[in-house]
Symmetry: D2
Subunit: 340 residues, 4 copies
């Protein structure tokens, strides 16, 4: 049997626990040997629940351990870039939740550290591993749609996060639409050249007072000439609304939302079905397993991860461009941001 | 029995023949008493097919006839405004195919003539009478969706018109997307305030050489704060693609394409269905009957038609704004056009 | 222009008026020159509404008229067989609503009269002309499903007919399921060999007191070895439920109900759609036009109609077998009935 | 933390391994402490893969171990009844794969042993735990459909099992349709009173030569008056076809097949989707986890399992009645079998 990849998980909040569980129970090729969290009790509970031997408050304990091959960074966003730099320096392979950082120089510094250390880095854009998006991606890549012409992404949350979170989130473009910017690049296979943003506060005035938006439409032009739109809302009363459509010279592909069952009721007033799966923990659960399996496989076999540092960097640029477009009420080329 | 409304049809091309047939066979409250066409043979064939007693090459024969209560204008776009002026002056009620004109002063002059004459004027935005869009409109109006937040319209033709037509069409925004601008105003119940346009030539370079586009995405902001997108393509290989989605504070409504049958095949490779109805004559046939029934009813009962002169004017403004946005590579307020 | 087929319509109840309207307005190759009804006022109203010159109480007026090429028999079921005999004797082509009769000798006599006279006879199994069933039939015939193995037909009405009608209807098997027996033969292209019936009174005890059932399941074996089921209910609270499924060695085809629009609502509790089209006048309206167009075409061009006398006879046999199966609580071969 | 239920798995073929994996990784309330298989190497591999400490060729090792609270019986069908008797005698709680036996006296003897020992017994009708069927069951139970009138179950496999298996399988009614008989009882909440069977060899003559059928339709009458049909085929070229429909006085519920993704392609020829999930390991995987979780919960909390011995017995009776109906070409009351 092949040697298991020994993993340390840094940050044991919701997403950190999820990755720990998957690594412990669903991915036989890996073993979680350590977890850390600034709130040590959280790390301890996680360790107990998933039989993890080493627990620490300080992630440096993990980085210093020779027993660890790779780290999974699930701590708060502002710590990602620094931990990447340190982990790379210690030769650990790195899985990092998105986004790397909201600060471009910090991103660049961390990517440079990874490059120099020659370690693997995978960014947590899990939706790329979802079976719906995967099928769309395959069909685009196989040429089943011919040349893509128009992309439409819809991405709406069931309800807004707490205002305290909104304040530190980086704003709707870097916190929420960043997933869609990644998806846009992934599906079209070309970089976004220019964006134009319309945004509004329609759901909760408090979000507006926090300097953010809850409703936004972004028009996109890709380097390969494809046009696209993304729309986001912080509140879809029917649940998590995650759909994509790619229209091309030879056909179109569309996805619809996943549902908890296929039961359809025909009654005296309407025909009805259950609501879609409510939020990302139900909707994207399989994609979380698959991305982690893929990361472990890449470390194990020395392959390049499918979502690399540049994939972590570009959506941040696009997100900044999207915000600038709104602020200056004009179309913005992504290159304007890259140049900054 | 109520007296039938006596109608003259001006222009007996495809759409003129269609209206004649509906008036003759589907709308018992009306009688077609005359048809005219500059190509007199076309008018004669139409008259013979649908038992119309009076035939003329010159539409003025119809306008001068005291036997005619109302005219249906289906001649070429550049003649609409002038015929409206003349018909109004002779006290005829008017149904006019879209658009009234590409020339704003001409539109305004014709609407003024209608106003002064006190005749009824209905514009041929037939999609408002389609059962899918009608349902969406009802649900928005009833508040079933709460406050609307985001509108998405997709409208794609099965194949581009001949290049000769493209040259005189007024361009994709005034020829094709004009229907979507009307639909946007109709569904949201608010005026479009600002547009931003991305457009491209993806289908046929000849369309580009003719100074037009075949692929376009327009982002819209409405006066009531709703955001929206419209996308158009001149060529959807799977047929006529006509869908809308309205997302609001209490829910979302989506329509899908109409299909020729509901048969679904499950075979060894895929699950498949027949393509959607191919083009507007199949897809929207019922809406043509309904709009004409409604016009006849309005004339008969002295009601104001549901699609009035202002509804003919506004989409032209938006279309011009959309083109200007592309030309100047900036968001354009519709008021900029209105002011010109 | 070809000479129009001159038609007389016998019986101007709901279905007779419908055929008259279609012949008058939708089928240019035909002209309705006479209508008759035992209730003369009904015939007069029908004639006035659709511009029919000749009106009579006695259908023999139509049969005696040299101005009439074909008759459409829409009178009460008990008169069909006799009128067929008389019409055939006078050389009129015949379209007859289903069923020809509940009495087998009467059916046989009328078919013999038709044969001898050499006139065309088409039976009004309109569903064969519906676009859903048509597609299924085509796919079966083309071999797209391979060898058919299992057939499932569901056919449920929105609400039971009046008890007075139930009493004279011939019972659920001859009145309602007869359409499904026809569909079964049509889709599978083989005769039904044996049936087994389970039936119950679940909707309204008054139907049971009238000696009939409102809920029934019939298992079928075809001569070519296909197995099938039909289920009927007199009351589907969600409307008219008309679906079919054919499963074969190379695939399956299923139809679903037709809907008034494609609008889909996603709200805080459910995802919902409008109910299916409510009853046969909406659901099958196009099939009525098509069957009549086909009949006129057959008369005009001397072709054999696609739904002949034998197609009128066989479903009656199957219906009688289905009832006998229930009464004797055993499987019944259709040949047992044919032999009687 | 509550004490874990210690489980021994008897039989480590495909289904035994599956249960072992779920107990080991997905159900924290349980621990697999032993596995046995007559092919000891199989048990050893299973133990190694899922960290099970005790391995045996003889299941009696497990029954004799005081370390084991419950056994999961996944050995061949002919051993189930005997192992149940022995396990009950040793006070072990029992989860047993379906069917208990094809031999009624053996079933009765094993149920009596369970009753006397007072241990829990759950039968492996996993589909009851599938989210589609669960929803149907809930809606029936809540009265959302009113009184149920008609049940339709479709259940078709992607391809027939090997002929060697067919020979010992007990036949299509006890091997395959037994799941549907269970589902029928579960959904309708009433016992099946009478069946009538039509069956054929349509897929593979070798199945016929083995004395079995590959295509079957069974009509059912329930004690509460509901009528129903079940159809089975051993070969659906499009994959695993598992659907149900319940029609009642207040509405209808239908399920459709589960699919690997929601991507829909619209191309120049057809609109298409991927095939349904292919077979039970993909389609019903979640139901296997849920049934086992439920069993462990019942043992842990002393609750009665939701699928009891009688639920294991009744479908065997119905299956025997179904076969007898075919053999004697007549409707058969289930009570005829129960009386034997």
């Amino acid at each position: 049997m092949k040697k298991k990849i020994r993993v340390g998980v840094i940050g044991t909040g919701r997403i950190g626990r999820l990755h720990t569980e998957h690594l412990a129970f669903r991915i036989p090729e890996a073993a979680v040997v350590a977890v850390s969290d600034v709130v040590k009790a959280a790390a301890e509970k996680c360790a107990a629940d998933f039989n993890v031997p080493i627990v620490a408050a300080d992630y440096r304990v993990l980085l210093d351990s020779p027993e660890i091959d790779a780290v999974v960074i699930c701590s708060s966003t502002d710590t990602h870039a620094q931990i990447i730099v340190e982990a790379a320096a210690r030769g650990k392979h790195i899985f990092c939740e998105k986004p790397i950082s909201h600060d471009l120089p910090a991103i660049d510094k961390s990517l440079e550290a990874v490059r120099r250390a020659g370690v693997k880095l995978q960014i947590g854009f899990n939706r790329r591993f979802d079976s719906n998006y995967r099928r769309v991606w395959e069909w685009v890549r196989e040429g089943k749609l011919g040349d893509p012409h128009i992309l439409r992404i819809t991405s709406r949350d069931p309800s807004p996060p707490p205002i305290d979170y909104v304040r530190v989130s980086g704003g709707i473009f870097l916190d929420m639409m960043i997933h869609d910017f990644d998806m846009a690049r992934f599906l079209i296979g070309s970089e976004v050249e220019e964006v134009y943003t319309m945004a509004a506060v329609r759901v909760d005035p408090a979000i507006g007072r926090a300097g953010d938006f809850d409703t936004a439409v972004v028009a996109l032009k890709f380097e390969n000439g494809v046009l696209g739109t993304i729309d986001n809302s912080r509140k879809a009363v029917f649940g998590y609304d995650q759909r994509v459509e790619v229209f091309g010279s030879k056909g179109m592909v569309q996805t619809s939302n996943n549902t908890p069952n296929t039961a359809k009721f025909s009654g005296p007033d309407v025909v009805s079905e259950d609501l879609p799966l409510n939020f990302f923990m139900e909707r994207y659960i399989d994609s979380y397993v698959r991305e982690m399996k893929e990361f472990i496989g890449c470390v194990s076999e020395g392959r390049e991860p499918p979502v690399t540092g540049i994939d972590g960097r570009m959506p941040v640029l696009i997100g900044k461009a999207a915000r600038l477009s709104y602020d200056q009420h004009r179309p913005v080329r992504v290159a304007e941001i890259a140049g900054s």
